[in-house]
Symmetry: C2
Subunit: 346 residues, 2 copies
């Protein structure tokens, strides 16, 4: 009947105590006599009382919740990132909520609009589609750590993977195992932007330079981000008659598409064409054949990101006028090559 939500005052009235005592009884923040506590709990249960977190947050100025903003929920890389972050934060008694930006500049900036930030103790922004200028323009005091491979303004903490080293490692492995014509699927012109694709393309180029060669321009294939893009890229190479005996796919997602296209064309992997990916997704060990890939140090990235976040939060809490206790850090996680069955052992 009384469909309105009961408040602490209602519980207090029912239990014959003050609202403050209800608060103390339920949170245990200050001592309350056992008898009173029992009465309060009874009343709260009877009324179906539910704590209003919004009110608590307003008062406390904290939410114990961290937001992670990713471009897409349905990209496995971000799913794994979110899951890992969520586990770490849960261990610390904090919450993670994930928001999607859609990789559109406006949406990403909206998701990260200062107003929305205030709902969280901190924001982890996996930036794609924003330029350094977009971010540089923001003036906010909400703790922010950037994650990702874009060029980022130096004033924020930033965690990234070692794209260049990883790509170099991958490509070098292909060259060392006998491939001579290594296509890069998902590559980008080094002068275009400073994103992940560019860095990985640079690594691919450097691996060639290392062995005193240079990659043929027609082996650089630009693509979209998803599975079909990988498949289409290989189809294009094949139909163009481009000669290649290995593929470095800039992401594992693209690599899956690459494998599909090679299988459909009857090219044997790794005998005719070797393949290496990048990201070491959970599913990458289960492709046919199992994908050789670059592990970008997921765990280190997660740990470092949260360390930086705590640092920024602490800095903000301590009035942040506390001097250069520590400036923003820019961390690069170490990469590692995971050799599986899409490359030859010799």
């Amino acid at each position: 009947m009384t469909s309105v939500k009961p408040t602490m005052s209602d519980v207090a009235r029912a239990a014959g105590v003050s609202a403050m005592t209800v608060s103390n009884a339920l949170t245990g923040r200050r001592p309350v006599s056992p008898a009173t506590r029992a009465r309060v709990e009874r009343a709260a249960a009877d009324l179906g009382y539910e704590l209003n977190l919004t009110a608590r947050h307003l008062r406390a100025g904290r939410t114990d919740t961290v937001a992670l903003v990713v471009p897409h929920f349905d990209h496995p890389y971000y799913g794994e990132l979110a899951a890992r972050m969520g586990r770490h934060l849960a261990d610390q008694g904090r919450h993670l909520v994930v928001e999607q930006s859609g990789a559109r500049r406006e949406a990403e900036l909206a998701a990260v609009a200062p107003a929305r930030w205030q709902l969280y103790d901190g924001v982890l922004l996996s930036a794609v589609g924003t330029t350094p200028d977009d971010l540089a323009g923001l003036h906010t005091s909400v703790p922010l750590v950037l994650l990702g491979e874009q060029q980022m303004p130096a004033r924020y903490d930033h965690v990234r993977m070692d794209n260049v080293a990883g790509a170099r490692l991958a490509t070098r492995h292909l060259l060392a195992t006998g491939s001579r014509r290594v296509a890069i699927v998902g590559g980008a012109d080094p002068d275009r932007d400073a994103g992940m694709r560019t860095a990985r393309t640079l690594g691919w180029t450097m691996a060639h330079t290392d062995t005193g060669t240079a990659p043929a321009p027609e082996l650089l294939v630009r693509t979209g981000p998803d599975l079909s893009a990988g498949r289409d890229a290989v189809r294009r190479l094949l139909s163009d008659g481009t000669d290649f005996d290995a593929v470095f796919a800039v992401t594992d997602t693209l690599a899956v598409g690459v494998l599909a296209a090679l299988a459909e064309a009857g090219r044997r992997v790794p005998d005719d064409v070797q393949v290496v990916g990048f990201d070491n997704l959970a599913s990458s060990g289960f492709t046919v054949p199992a994908l050789t890939t670059v592990d970008p140090g997921h765990e280190q990235m997660a740990v470092e990101t949260l360390r930086l976040l705590d640092q920024v939060v602490a800095r903000a809490a301590s009035g942040e006028a506390d001097g250069r206790s520590s400036g923003p850090e820019h961390v690069t996680a170490p990469v590692r090559l995971v050799v599986r069955a899409t490359t030859r052992s010799a």
Copy 2:
């Protein structure tokens, strides 16, 4: 220097007006003279004023944000679900945030603790690991729509896929294309619980009954949820020497593991062993060979879910004493078989 965040009062002081006028000027809710508005905007910009959403929410009692609680961020099914929901809500100018429950009963109940719900206008709970009793015990007025294959209390709106029909369709296809020994990977005893696995196992059994046969008990393989579980299940079947010429994997994720194990054992798909999955994930079209699977009507599920949520929200807003305008609905989305290359055409 003044590192504290400016409030509306600060802006008001700076602009020489009252806080209320600042509110009106910035939101446009009530008219303000152009000159004043300009002055206010100027002051707000100068001070770097950011609206405090927590305070607004406390006052307004609405957040324009919907939460989706899923068991795992890193399971592609949930990622795709979240992405789809997020797109729909964004189109309506609302926000979606995703939380992870970890599929542990306690965490799921904590994530959906009534206290947390109040942060959102509504909650979509993708329940796994909760029993109907857990949910039945909750009395809350926060709009809630359940999503998933568990047995759910009837008093909540609920959207599910047609697991039985899908599994039956999949298995029937295997039998119709010449398979006689169809293993089910990830199956469950029908009497154990009323979850997704049980329903899909039931469909598998029914397809056999339909053709006047009965599945051999040793063809029912219980597994964990992830990729390696699918691979291990097939390895076990092979090492046990169990005869089988087809596999119905209860999820696409398991199916990917199944394909990996078959490839590693040198069984040809679909010639020696046919395979069908369930879920039609984005990546399922790119396995080698491309996976035949059951599409669970993703889009219908998303649309129905949001329709129900709006209904519940409206019901709650209208005082909900408004009588049986409409009781809780239980929607089952229609399934569809997507035939690709892991099954034979005849």
